[in-house]
C-alpha cells in the first residue's frame, strides 16, 4: 500500500492552501507522490492522493494522464531523457539515444535489469544551444557526445 511520508503529508497540507483553489495543488502534490513512489504514479498512489486531498479521483487521474512528466509505468532509479527534437537531432541526439541504450543494455522506455536506468526520447528541453543533451532525473547534462553521456551515466553513484 502506498503512503506518503510524514513530511510528504505536511507538504500536501501546505500546498492545499497555497493557491486560490485546492485543485491547483493537484499537480505539485502528484509530483511529490511520484518522487516518493520511486519515480512513477501507480493507480493506487493516485487513489491515495485523491483521498488525502479529499478531491474526486478523476481530478488526479486527469492530471496524471495529460502531463508527460508523470510516468504511468515504473522507471529506473535514473530516468534518462534524451532530447531528439530538431537542434538535438541535428547534433546527433537520436544516435546518442541508441548508443546509450546499447551500452547500458536497456531497451528504450523499459527498465534495465539492475533497475538503474530507463532511457526515453523527449521533446525540446530548452537546451538547443548546447545540443545534444539529456536530463537525468532533475538535472541537465549538456554539450554531450554519446561516449560522454554513457560515461556520465555509468558513474552515477
Amino acid at each position: 500500500m502506498f503512503e506518503l511520508s510524514r513530511e510528504g503529508i505536511e507538504f500536501v497540507k501546505k500546498e492545499m492552501t497555497r493557491y486560490e483553489t485546492k485543485r491547483s495543488a493537484v499537480i505539485p502534490c502528484l509530483f511529490r507522490v511520484q518522487k516518493e513512489n520511486g519515480g512513477w504514479v501507480s493507480p493506487e498512489s493516485i487513489a491515495y492522493l485523491a483521498q488525502l486531498m479529499d478531491v474526486p479521483e478523476r481530478w488526479v487521474q486527469e492530471v496524471a494522464t495529460f502531463y508527460t512528466m508523470f510516468n504511468k509505468q515504473p522507471v529506473g532509479k535514473y530516468h534518462v531523457q534524451v532530447c531528439c527534437n530538431i537542434s538535438c537531432a541535428m547534433a546527433g541526439g537520436r544516435e546518442m539515444t541508441d548508443k546509450i541504450c546499447q551500452s547500458l543494455g536497456v531497451e528504450e522506455g523499459a527498465v534495465s535489469k539492475d533497475r538503474r536506468y530507463t532511457v526515453s526520447r523527449v521533446e525540446c528541453l530548452g537546451s538547443c544551444g548546447t545540443a545534444p543533451m539529456m536530463q537525468v532525473n532533475d538535472d541537465y547534462y549538456e554539450n554531450l557526445s554519446a561516449d560522454k553521456a554513457v560515461k556520465i551515466l555509468r558513474e552515477l553513484e
Binding site: 497555497r18 493557491y19 499537480i27 502531463y67 525540446c124 530548452g126 538547443c128 548546447t130 545540443a131
Partner: protein
C-alpha cells in the same frame, strides 16, 4: 554588434542574488514606478511600442488596456513555459537574472492593478524554479513584495507554479487551465484572458522577456527604447541561436538586425566547408527560409512576415547542407503530433496524418502523390481550430515541401535521402 540592454549583466554570477542585483542598480526602477500613476506606466509601455516576446508579437500596452476598468481580483501571469523547439532565452534570464523578471512583474502588476501574480515555469526547469523561489523570498524580505510595498500602499503577492510537461500549456488559455490544476487544454477565444482568465477573472498573460523589458522601458523612457529596433518593432530582443553554427547561444540585438550578421558575426558562421541550406527564424512553428532568403532577412516582425514566415519566439535554427530536409520535417511533425491536445479534429487528425506521411517517405515507402498530400492536408488544418498549434504544424510543413521539393521527390523516387542516404526511420 550585440546590444545588451536586458542581458547587460548576465555574465556576472552575483546578479542572481538580491545583493548583487541591488548593487547593480536593481529595484531602483520599481521605487520610481510606484510613485507614478498606473495609467502613466501603461501609457509609457504603449509609447515604447513593446510587442510580446512569447511568439505572437502583440503590443503589450494595448493588451493591458483590454482589462476591464475596475473589478477585483485580477491576475498577472508570467509565461515561462518556453516549449517552442529551438527556444532557450527565457531559461537564461531565469537562471541569471531572476530579480530582473520579478522587478518587471511588480511594476507591471502595479500598472494593471493586480494583487497576485504567478510565474508558470515549465516543469523541466527545476533549477530555475528553485532560483525563482529563493529570489521571491528575498524580495519579500526586502519589502519589494507583500503588503504596502515600500510604503506605496500597493500590495502584491507572487508565486511560482511548475508545469508538468506539455507544450500546449505555453498557449495562454492552456496555461490558465493548467494553473487551475486541470489538464492544459486551450479554450476558445473570446472571451480573452484579459476579460475572463484564471478562475474566470481578468488576467494578463505575458512572456518572461516582455515583463523584464517593461522595467527597462521605465528606466530609460519609451523614446530611448525606441532608438533601438525599427518603427514597427522597437527595442532589442533575445535570440536563441542553435543548429549548425560555431557559437550557438543567446544573443541580444536590436530588432531589424540582419540575420546574416547574426549567423556570421555573433555566431561565428558555419563549420568550415559547409554551406548554408536553410534557416528557421522563429522556432519550429515558423516556416523555413532558404539560404538565399535568409541572407536578405532582417530580424523584425514586419520583414519576416513579409517573407511568409515569422519572428515567433526568436529561435533561430541554422541548417547547413549536411542535413536532410525530409528527415528534419519528420522530427518536427513528430513533435506536433505528440503535443496536439486532441480537442479539435483538424489538429488531432492532421498532425497524425502529416507525421505518418513524412514517416513513410523516410522509411522508403512514400509515393509521389504523398509529396502533394503534405500541403493539401496542411491547408485543411489551418484557421479552424481552438488554438494556433494546428497552424503551427501546418505552416512549416507547407514551407518545407514548397522550398525543398526536390529532396522530397528524390526520397520517394530513390527510397533514400538525397543528402544522407538511408535513414533509419
Amino acid at each position: 554588434m550585440e546590444t545588451k540592454l536586458l542581458s547587460q549583466h548576465y555574465d556576472k554570477p552575483e546578479y542572481v542574488s538580491l545583493k548583487g542585483y541591488l548593487n547593480l542598480g536593481g529595484y531602483e526602477v520599481l521605487k520610481r514606478a510606484l510613485k507614478m500613476e498606473p495609467k502613466a506606466i501603461i501609457d509609457e509601455v504603449k509609447a515604447s511600442g513593446l510587442r510580446g516576446r512569447g511568439g505572437a508579437g502583440f503590443p503589450t500596452g494595448t493588451k493591458w488596456t483590454f482589462l476591464p476598468e475596475n473589478g477585483e481580483p485580477r491576475y498577472l501571469l508570467c509565461n515561462a513555459d518556453e516549449g517552442e523547439p529551438g527556444t532557450f532565452k527565457d531559461r537564461i534570464m531565469l537562471e541569471r537574472a531572476p530579480h530582473q523578471l520579478i522587478e518587471g512583474m511588480i511594476i507591471s502588476a502595479f500598472a494593471v492593478k493586480s494583487a497576485k501574480s504567478y510565474i508558470y515555469v515549465r516543469g523541466e526547469y527545476q533549477m530555475c524554479i528553485r532560483k525563482l523561489e529563493k529570489a521571491i523570498r528575498e524580495a519579500y524580505d526586502a519589502g519589494f513584495l507583500g503588503k504596502n510595498i515600500l510604503g506605496s500602499g500597493f500590495t502584491h503577492d507572487m508565486d511560482v507554479y511548475s508545469g508538468a510537461g506539455a507544450y500546449i500549456c505555453g498557449e495562454e488559455t492552456g496555461m490558465i487551465s493548467s494553473l487551475e490544476g486541470k489538464k492544459g487544454q486551450p479554450k476558445l477565444k473570446p472571451p480573452f484572458p484579459a476579460v475572463q482568465g484564471y478562475l474566470a477573472k481578468p488576467t494578463i498573460v505575458n512572456n518572461v522577456e516582455t515583463l523584464a523589458a517593461v522595467s527597462l522601458i521605465l528606466r530609460d523612457g519609451a523614446a530611448a527604447y525606441r532608438k533601438f529596433g525599427t518603427e514597427k518593432s522597437p527595442g532589442t530582443k533575445l535570440f536563441s541561436v542553435s543548429g549548425n553554427v560555431k557559437k550557438p547561444g543567446v544573443y541580444e540585438v536590436p530588432l531589424g538586425y540582419p540575420l546574416a550578421d547574426l549567423i556570421q558575426v555573433e555566431c561565428g558562421g558555419l563549420d568550415p566547408g559547409r554551406r548554408l541550406k536553410a534557416v528557421i527564424p522563429g522556432g519550429s512553428s515558423a516556416p523555413v527560409l532558404t539560404a538565399e532568403e535568409a541572407m536578405k532577412a532582417t530580424m523584425d516582425y514586419e520583414c519576416l512576415q513579409g517573407m511568409g514566415t515569422m519572428l515567433g519566439s526568436g529561435a533561430v535554427i541554422v541548417i547547413d547542407d549536411s542535413n536532410c530536409m525530409v528527415d528534419l520535417l519528420k522530427v518536427i511533425m513528430h513533435f506536433y503530433h505528440h503535443e496536439s491536445c486532441g480537442q479539435c479534429t483538424p489538429c488531432r487528425e492532421g498532425t497524425g496524418w502529416l507525421h505518418k506521411i513524412v514517416h513513410s517517405i523516410v522509411s522508403g515507402e512514400g509515393r509521389l502523390q504523398d509529396v502533394d498530400l503534405i500541403p493539401r492536408v496542411s491547408r485543411q488544418m489551418m484557421g479552424r481550430t481552438i488554438c494556433a498549434l494546428s497552424d503551427a504544424a501546418a505552416m512549416p510543413a507547407i514551407s518545407f515541401v514548397e522550398k525543398f521539393r526536390d529532396e522530397f521527390e528524390f526520397f520517394v523516387r530513390e527510397g533514400r535521402s538525397k543528402v544522407k542516404g538511408h535513414l533509419h526511420a
